[in-house]
Amino acid sequence: MKTFFRYVSLYRRVFIQAVIQNLAYPQNFVVWMLVDIAWAFVNIGFFRIILFNIPEISGWTFDQLTIPLGILYLLNTFIWGFFYANMSSIPEYINKGELDLLLTKPVNSQFMVSTRQIGLGTLPSAVAGMYLLWYGFQINAVPWQMIAVVPLALLASGIISYSLWLMTVTLSFWTNRLYNVPDLFARAVDIARYPVVIFRQPAKFILTFILPFAILGFLPAEIILGRISPVWILWPLGLTILFLFLSSKFWQFSLRRYQSVSS
């Protein structure tokens, strides 16, 4: 428990530092916020335009889609804000030998590489997500007690996303240089915005069980809309533990491949 509070205290300091860092470049911070707002309009507009042209996407109308999109927007705030900058830095630490500095610190190396930077420019996504959920709950006449699914879904989806992202960037230990590997997850997670039924087998199986993008937003949305039993929430929660364990093991295993620049 003492260790846990030590890490919480450490993270609090990182957070304060990140706020100062974000505000040190005010023009860039404002443009990031504008970019995030623009992405929100683009993504929502994208589905609106598609559904101007066709009545539904594989059984999902626009009004129903607001629920998974709302969950995914809140998830985006979390994963882009808290992890994008950190994941993008890992291949560079490995390639340039800068990981030495972090490995010699008396803190878990996975914690260090995952939490050093925080971006606050994605805050508008959180507003967009909450608005979409509010709209989705209203228009689909969803009972308000279903709101309890949202934090559970976000916890599970956030940890699964982090674990998958970390495992992907950990591949950098196994090659000479892989600077673009963080973008692989960033692009792949877009798959979560579409109902898994649009894909054919074996893609459908892979996206549900192996790279479970299908469950990040749509599975909780199906629970909220009463399409499937609430018991299904146990599936992403169970995977959370599995993926966190796997990412940690893979990180530890891959660390053995690390060759420092000085040795």
Binding site: N28, V35, I54, I57, V181, D183, R187, Y194, I198
Partner: protein, 260 residues
């Protein structure tokens, strides 16, 4: 001309050393094609404005256009400007920003060669859905590819130039992506946009990046319409080249290097 070739060759050799990164880029660019292809194949009965063949071909050609016309030097040169290592470009015997053309093309040549068998596999896999243009359409497509490429080059120069004035400008790279993606027709053909919104992409140069070349290829717009688009596309391209070059020259004057 020899120095341009030498620079392109050096970048090509560098790219060959980073083949894993190229493999990752190809997967990254194939993801939207796979997703959008799956989306439209699953909902093809609902399509009215265009045929499923045109849609599948559209996304395949968009992917190829994206690879062939891409310029992305703004992503790393602005970092060089900020940390002072930009000076290495100024001492090269080719004036900046033009040197980024052979640098980018040399670097991409290897990636495009790797992409060829993947495109061949996609063509075989989707062969029953693909449509191809006639000779006139193919020539118009090639002309628009060149224009698209130079427009993207100018945009990349403009975004890089911002780094001479601001401390942090990476957000502008994302802004460029958004404009190219949405107003350019990367995610959806612009004919899908509601009438009331069409005037926005229609009055901007981004539609010449993806939509017009790809629509010419797929037959979403006729060759006559495409030919009428050539002059405005050319004017946008020329205008952006001039503006970006002037902005760059002014920006370089503000640059101060470490120790210089």
């Amino acid at each position: 001309m020899r120095k341009y070739w030498a620079l392109a060759r050096a970048e090509l050799l560098d790219a060959i050393q980073e083949k894993e990164e190229i493999f990752i880029w190809i997967i990254i660019e194939a993801i939207p094609v796979f997703v959008m292809g799956s989306l439209w194949l699953a909902n093809q009965k609902s399509l009215v404005q265009v045929s499923i063949s045109e849609m599948v071909t559209y996304y395949l050609v968009v992917m190829i256009t994206a690879r062939l016309t891409e310029f992305y030097f703004d992503e790393y040169v602005q970092e060089d400007i900020r940390d002072g290592s930009f000076a290495r470009y100024l001492i090269k015997p080719i004036s900046s920003p033009w040197l980024f053309i052979p640098v980018t093309w040399g670097r991409k040549l290897f990636a495009n060669l790797i992409l060829l068998p993947i495109i061949a596999l996609m063509i075989i896999g989707f062969r029953q859905y693909l449509v191809f243009p006639g000779l006139a359409g193919a020539l118009l497509f090639a002309a628009f590819l060149l224009i698209s490429s130079l427009i993207r080059y100018s945009l990349s120069v403009l975004v890089t130039t911002a780094a001479f004035y601001w401390e942090q400008t990476y957000s502008l790279v994302h802004l460029r992506w958004i404009l190219e993606t949405v107003a350019g027709g990367y995610v959806l053909p612009l004919i899908f946009y509601p009438e009331g919104l069409r005037f926005i992409p229609d009055s901007l140069p981004f539609k010449y990046i993806y939509f017009v070349p790809t629509a010419v290829f797929t037959g979403m717009i006729t060759n006559n319409e495409a030919a009428k688009n050539l002059l405005p596309a050319f004017l946008w391209m020329a205008g952006l080249l001039v503006v970006s070059n002037l902005a760059w020259r002014n920006g370089v004057k503000k640059y101060s290097s470490v120790g210089g």
